[in-house]
């Protein structure tokens, strides 16, 4: 991997992670699950939009923007690990319905966001 790509990933990752930290830090503890869900949906939509607009991996346009925005920023903004711990802790404390519901809603919402944004990007920026 070229060093400039690694630097762009680092910058994007630092900004995305900071936005995620500020969002959860400013929201009440009982809203952390919703905050993470919203961030995961936004990040998934952003990556879908970029890919649909022709900035996906392997394209000429992707050279600098994909490492910075998709791998770095969106990767730092979204988090799988927090989602996994939120679900596992619910399953571990016999809140099975809450855990399964969170899994279902997150999967459906993020995939819908990525797919819809991809289609929008492809139609608007052919």
């Amino acid at each position: 991997m070229p060093l400039r790509h690694l630097l762009l990933i680092a910058v994007g990752g630092a900004v995305g992670t900071s936005v995620r930290w500020l969002t959860t830090d400013l929201s009440a503890a009982e809203h952390h699950v919703t905050a993470i869900l919203i961030l995961n949906v936004i990040g998934s939509a952003l990556v879908g939009l970029m890919a649909g607009a022709g900035f996906g991996p392997g394209t000429v346009r992707s050279n600098l923007v994909w490492p910075l925005v998709a791998i770095g920023f969106s990767g730092g903004l979204t988090t799988y690990a927090t989602f996994a711990v939120q679900v596992a802790s619910r399953l571990d404390t016999d809140r099975t319905t809450a855990g399964l519901s969170l899994s279902f809603v997150t999967v459906v919402a993020t995939l819908f966001a990525a797919g819809t944004a991809f289609s929008f990007g492809r139609s608007r920026f052919p």
Binding site: M1, H5, L6, I9, A10, V11, G12, G13, A14, V15, G16, T17, S18, R20, W21, L22, T24, N40, G43, S44, L46, V47, G48, A51, P67, A70, I71, G72, S74, G75, G76, L77, T78, T79, Y80, A81, T82, F83, A84, V85, V87, A88, S89, L91, D92, G99, S103, T106, V107, T110, L111, A113, A114, G115, F118
Partner: protein
């Protein structure tokens, strides 16, 4: 001040994720799968700790090491390539594996 360290940890986590996923051209995105499982296990372990260092490690490094956006994009791309069975398998492994690893981490320190 803690946000500076969270940003640095996030940069490090994102770089490790980028390096692990770089150059992998297999049909299944092993890089994303590996970092998500590892980070989930690590964050499960980190639930036992408290304080600024734990926050920096969990929200910064482990949070940025894992990613939902790449997972969603990769699943969407598989469906668009008419690889529905591969997408279903990837989703199933990611969800059950990640939650299972997080649960294991929580149980080990709980």
């Amino acid at each position: 001040m803690i946000i500076v360290f969270i940003a640095l940890a996030g940069a490090a986590g994102a770089c490790v994720r980028g390096l692990i996923g770089h150059g992998m051209s297999a049909r299944l995105p092993w890089g994303t799968l590996v970092v998500n499982l590892l980070a989930s296990f690590g964050l499960g372990l980190a639930t036992a700790w408290d304080g600024p260092t734990a926050t920096i490690a969990s929200i910064g490094a482990l949070g940025a090491l894992s990613t939902w956006s790449s997972l969603a994009y990769e699943l969407d791309a598989m469906v668009r390539r008419h690889e529905g069975q591969l997408a279903a398998a990837y989703l199933l492994i990611s969800i059950t594996g990640g939650i299972g690893m997080a649960w294991l981490g929580i149980r080990l320190v709980g």
